[in-house]
Structure formats: C-alpha cells, structure tokens
C-alpha cells in the first residue's frame, strides 16, 4: 500500500461522518429548519451505537441503534420548535448540551472498553481494480451509505415532486401552506431525517473511526457539519466535495507535522478552519448564487393560520 493510498484512506474515514451529518442537516435546512443540535445528536448516536454493539455483539444493530436513537432524539427538537414554536437557535443549542450529558450517562459503563470494529465489505470485481478498488470498494457499510445518501438526496431534492415541495416550504412556508402542502408534517420528517443522519455519523465515530466510547467524542464535528452546509450553499454534491476537502486538509496537516516541515503546528491545526472561511467568503461574494440557494425561511417559525 503506497503512502498516497494510505493518506486517502485516512481522509475517507475522517470525511465520512462530516458528510453524513451535514447531509441530514442540509435536508432539514432545505425545509427551513435550522437545527444547531447536530453535535448533540451525533454524540448520542455514537453512545447508543457503541452500547447496542456491546450488548448484542453486532455492529449492524449498533448502526441501527445510532440511526433510530438520533431520529428519536431529534423528535424532541421537532416537538419543541415545530409544535410549541420555541426559538430554533436556543432549542438547538440546548439539544447539543442535553445530548452531551445524556450520552455521557449512556456510555459510562463502556468507558475503557475496547469496541468491535465494523468490518469492510469488499464489492466483488470492483474491489480488484488497482488503486481505486481498495480505496472505494473495500469500505464499510457506513461509507457506502454516505455516498448513496449524497446521490439519493440530490436526486430527491431536485428531481422529485416531494423534493420540490421541500424546497418550496423552505423558501416560503406561507405560500406552501396555502397550496395545501403539509408544512409542519414535512418539517417533522426532515428534522428526523437530520437526526437519523447525525446518529449514523455518530455510529461511524464509535464503530469505524475509533471503536471505543469516550465522553464528548464527537469533539466539535457536529459544528463543522453545520458550517459545511453553508459552505456547500445547500447543494449535496458541493457538500460532498466540502467534506472531503475538510478531511484532506486536516489529515495532510498531520502528515506535514510528521515530516517535520517546520511549519507551526497551531497554524496547521487551524488550516481546515481557514479553508472553510476562505470558501465562505468566496461563496458570499457571489450574491446571486447565495440568494438562489439559501432557503428564505431558514430559522423562521411557522404557525399555520386556521
């Protein structure tokens, strides 16, 4: 295995949770719901996936637990912001803090326990392609799901009737409601989809990335996922590219250090964030593109008139 291949493999592992969590948030934001609780849902997913894997011995049940747990946890956010119409920003932050606390409780018995790693699945024939095979076709289920999700969400949002409705709600929930689209119901589903994706991202952390449970192990990845959605201007393919760019920069800075290039490590550690800021500036420079893609009703509460 060459060094390039090794680096790319590490990048894929680092980027997958970012792509997953931000893809869920992208769909939620496309319906106009801003859920800042990604970090909390992610860490809940990590704890539940690890616990379920330890109890049952099967990482696949762990993945399921992460997805279902993340979705159920996001339901709390949905109930508060959509039914009780609380402030989305405050509720999202509360969800993150709550998630960090509860996951600590769930994970407590499993601290210091060595986890079970989700094994890769080689896809016949494709796995034998030189270079690309080991990189893309000898991966674990969660990686395949993450790529499938990008393709699926892109198709769903821009090629289906339901996707059109979602975008309509995000752009103008009043008009969408007047047209007879179920605004609240659709938003509930989108929030739960976001929770499920964040939960799956968490499962990737505790089953693939580092098969163990450590309190607060998401370590800020939920916040990066949130930034990535804006970075990608709410477009799935750009989001995939952004996730991998971020992963690549954060891994290559470690390699630069190990090579002893003599660049200050604090600067290198900040590089992924600097890259994010630069791209955000470039994107916001193009006002038309920003306006076209930003859901106009993002973060605004909706109370249907009767």
């Amino acid at each position: 295995m060459g060094i390039i291949e090794a680096i790319l493999l590490t990048v894929i592992t680092a980027a997958t949770p970012l792509v997953l969590a931000s893809m869920g948030e992208l769909v939620a934001e496309r319906t106009g719901v801003l859920n800042l609780g990604v970090e909390g849902m992610m860490v809940m997913g990590a704890a539940l996936a690890f616990a379920a894997t330890q109890v049952t011995g099967s990482p696949y049940i762990g993945i399921l637990a992460g997805i279902v747990g993340g979705a159920l946890f996001s339901l709390l956010f949905g109930f508060l912001t959509l039914t009780l119409v609380t402030n989305q920003v405050a509720t999202g932050l509360a969800l993150t803090i709550l998630g960090l606390g509860i996951s600590g409780q769930i994970g407590e018995p499993y601290l210091g326990v060595s986890g079970i790693k989700l094994q890769p699945i080689a896809i016949p024939l494709l796995a034998d392609i030189p270079f690309l095979g080991p990189l893309l076709f000898r991966q674990d289920l969660i990686f395949y799901l993450s790529i499938g999700l990008v393709v699926g969400v892109n198709w769903f949002l821009f090629k289906t009737r339901a996707g059109l409705k979602i975008r309509a709600i995000g752009d103008n929930h009043g008009s969408a409601h007047a047209l007879g689209i179920h605004v609240i119901r659709t938003r509930y589903l989108a929030v739960m989809f976001g929770g499920a994706c964040a939960g799956l991202a968490g499962a990737q952390l505790s089953l693939v990335y580092t098969p163990q449970w450590v309190e607060n192990m998401s370590a800020g990845r939920g916040w990066i996922a949130l930034a990535l959605v804006v970075f990608a201007s709410w477009r799935p393919w750009r989001l995939l590219a952004g996730g991998y760019l971020f992963g690549a920069v954060s891994i290559s800075q470690l390699h630069a250090q190990a090579l002893g290039l003599g660049i200050p490590s604090q600067f290198l550690s900040a590089l992924p964030y600097i890259a994010t800021i630069v791209v955000l500036i470039l994107i916001s420079h193009n006002r038309r593109m920003t306006l076209v893609n930003t859901p106009a009703c993002l973060g605004k509460p909706f109370v249907p008139d009767r």
Partner: protein
C-alpha cells in the same frame, strides 16, 4: 420563583449541616476533579487514589468529591463549597484550579489544601506532582531497543513544559541506547479527541514509524497501533486491554500512596505545606508490566527502572546539548527542578520545531 430559591437555600443549608455533623465523627478528605471520575484517564486515576485512601484509612476518615468541575471562575465556588462542608484536607487535582485554591485557602486558614501540578503555595496550601519524565525515559530506552527503523512517533498534546519535558526525557532515554535515534512529533493540540489522535497515529504509521508514544488521553492511538501491527506505549493508565499484543508498557498514575501519606500526616497533626515532586521510588507513578518485548529488552527496562529508583540514573544528567547545539548540562551535571518545570526547549537530536 422566590419560594424556590428559598427552598433551595434551606435544603443547601440542611445538607451543609448534615455534612458538618458527620464530619465530626470522621475526618473528611475532599477531592475536586476536572473531568468525570470515569474518564478513563487523568481524573479516573485521581479517583482510584481516593478509593485507595478510603480502603487504607476508611475507619478514621471519609471522602467526598466533586467531578466535572470546570477550570476558571466556577472552580472557586466548588473549592469553597468543599471547604465550607467541613473538609479537613482538600485535594484540587487539576492545574487550572491553582488560583481558586489559593484564594479560598486565604478564607479558610484552618482547612488544608493540596493542589496538583501547580506552582503557587501558601501556609495551608501544598503542591504535589509526579515525575512522569522518569517513566518516559524508560520508554525511550525500550523504544530504541525495539524499533527496527530507529524512529518513534510521538503524539503530543500542547507545547507546555510537562509535555516538552516528556519528549526530552524520551529522547535522552532512546539516545542512551542509540545515539542516532529519531522521533517524529505530531502536535494534536487536544488532550482528548479520539478521532484526531487516531488520525495522528495513522499519519505516523504511514510514514514508517514502528513505535508510537502518546501524551494525549484516549486509547485510540493504541488501537491504531494494534491494527497496523506496530508497538505502542500507553498513557496515564494501563491500556493493555486496547492492545494486548501491542502495548510495551504504560506510565500509570498512582496517586493513592501519596494521598494516604498526606492524610496520615493530617491525622497525626504533622501536616505542613510542602512542594512535593515525587517519582518512581515514592510510588506516585508506576510502570505497567513490560509486555510484548524480548527478554533482553525487558531486562534493560527493569534495570533502568531500578537505577532511577535508586537514584543512580537521573534522566536529565549531562552531557546534554540543546537542540540548537548550545551546551545545557555539563558532564555529570543534573538539571535543577526549576529548569525542568519551565522547560521550553528541545534537547539535541529532536528534529521538530518547538511551537512557541
């Protein structure tokens, strides 16, 4: 709202009385942790120390603790609460509790305080720390004997004296076996982010190191080392379960012996403020069993450990040059503790540029 506050205040007062009442029967020894007592690392090691203390002196003392106390302004309230609740001796176990401890200690001259890893003391505030660098020197010896490539990977957290001292001790240990030994250093700029620690470990392994050392808290690097079939050293606790065929040894924080010693001093009425920096010989740190290495390496490690215990070897003994080639320690000269505690330079042979 007022009623609730009143109720809270009353119950807090009642609790305070309850604690004070029971404290009259047994001497109360208190602990404040920065993390959770089951964090699998630093705070857990302190809690093991508390449990050892209860086991040893449980008939004369009782213990109490506060966990997850953030460093900063909140710490002061936590320390004060402990002091008020009738503690005879309060151990504040994290560096960031230093100013809070000093401040509260002035208000409670009859309560004794011990602050870990700090440098400010007072009449009723002592400090204590462990010479972890002794363990890192032994690890350096093992690494130089075990590595086929003569290169170790070092995952460091932050460029503070404690960590820089560790890197230097590791290198000096390795150089005592192989003067040309190299170390590749990656600064993770975090104490605990398993993902990042694993990425750093992978990067180092991909660049060809066959021994990993870490000064971060999680077992992620150990897991990566196990996957890649290379060796690694644990950190703060015995991490053998994360790498049964991987871990060579680990520096284990064993604060219990110290806690028992100091509590006994309070019971005997002989406690006085001291600045303690104990090492292997005092049992404040121990080495996890030497595993996954040939007998001759194990023997060399055990001999080094015995010599450090007896005082025959001090890891920082001259001749040692600084990284820039200037002289630091003359032949036979031993570094003073002040230089070590403020260490902000590498010794010769380290290729990394120290972040300032």
């Amino acid at each position: 709202m007022k009623k609730i506050i009143l109720a809270l205040a009353t119950s807090a007062a009642v609790l305070g009385f309850a604690a004070a009442a029971s404290a009259q029967d047994k001497t109360k020894i208190c602990f404040i942790y920065v993390g959770s007592k089951t964090d699998g690392g630093y705070s857990e090691a302190h809690d093991h120390g508390r449990q050892a203390l209860e086991k040893a002196l449980g008939d004369k003392i009782e213990t109490a603790y506060l966990e997850n106390v953030p460093e900063g302004p909140d710490a002061e309230r936590a320390v004060e609460r402990m002091a008020r609740s009738g503690c005879a001796l309060v151990f504040t176990t994290s560096f960031g509790f230093m100013d809070a401890t000093i401040k509260v200690a002035q208000k409670f001259p009859d309560v004794k305080f011990e602050h870990a890893t700090g440098f400010k003391s007072a009449e009723n505030v002592g400090t204590y720390n462990a010479r972890f660098y002794e363990g890192r020197y032994i690890q350096g010896v093992i690494a130089a004997k075990m590595s086929k490539k003569g290169v170790a990977g070092y995952i460091a957290s932050f460029p503070i004296p404690e960590v820089v001292m560790g890197i230097n001790a590791f290198m000096l240990g390795a150089q005592s076996v192989n003067p040309d030994f190299k170390v590749k250093i990656v600064w993770a700029n975090t104490w605990a982010d398993p993902g990042k620690e694993a990425d750093a470990a992978k990067a180092l392994a991909d660049q060809g190191v066959d021994i990993l050392t870490q000064h971060t808290d999680s077992t992620a690097p150990m897991q990566v080392a196990a996957e890649r079939g290379i060796h690694a050293f644990g950190q703060a606790s015995d991490m053998i379960s994360a790498g049964p065929n991987t871990q060579l040894t680990s520096i284990v924080d064993t604060w219990g012996n110290y806690y028992i010693k100091r509590t006994q001093a309070v019971l005997d009425g002989t406690w006085k403020s001291e600045n303690v920096w104990d090492g292997l010989k005092d049992g404040i740190l121990t080495m996890a069993p030497y595993t996954n290495m040939p007998d001759d390496v194990k023997k060399a490690a055990e001999e080094t450990e015995a010599k450090i215990r007896s005082g025959e070897i001090h890891p920082f003994t001259g001749p040692v040059k600084k990284q820039d080639g200037s002289d630091w320690l003359a032949d036979g000269q031993v570094s003073d503790d002040g230089t070590l505690l403020g260490m902000n330079f590498y010794v010769a042979g380290v290729d990394d540029k120290l972040p300032q």
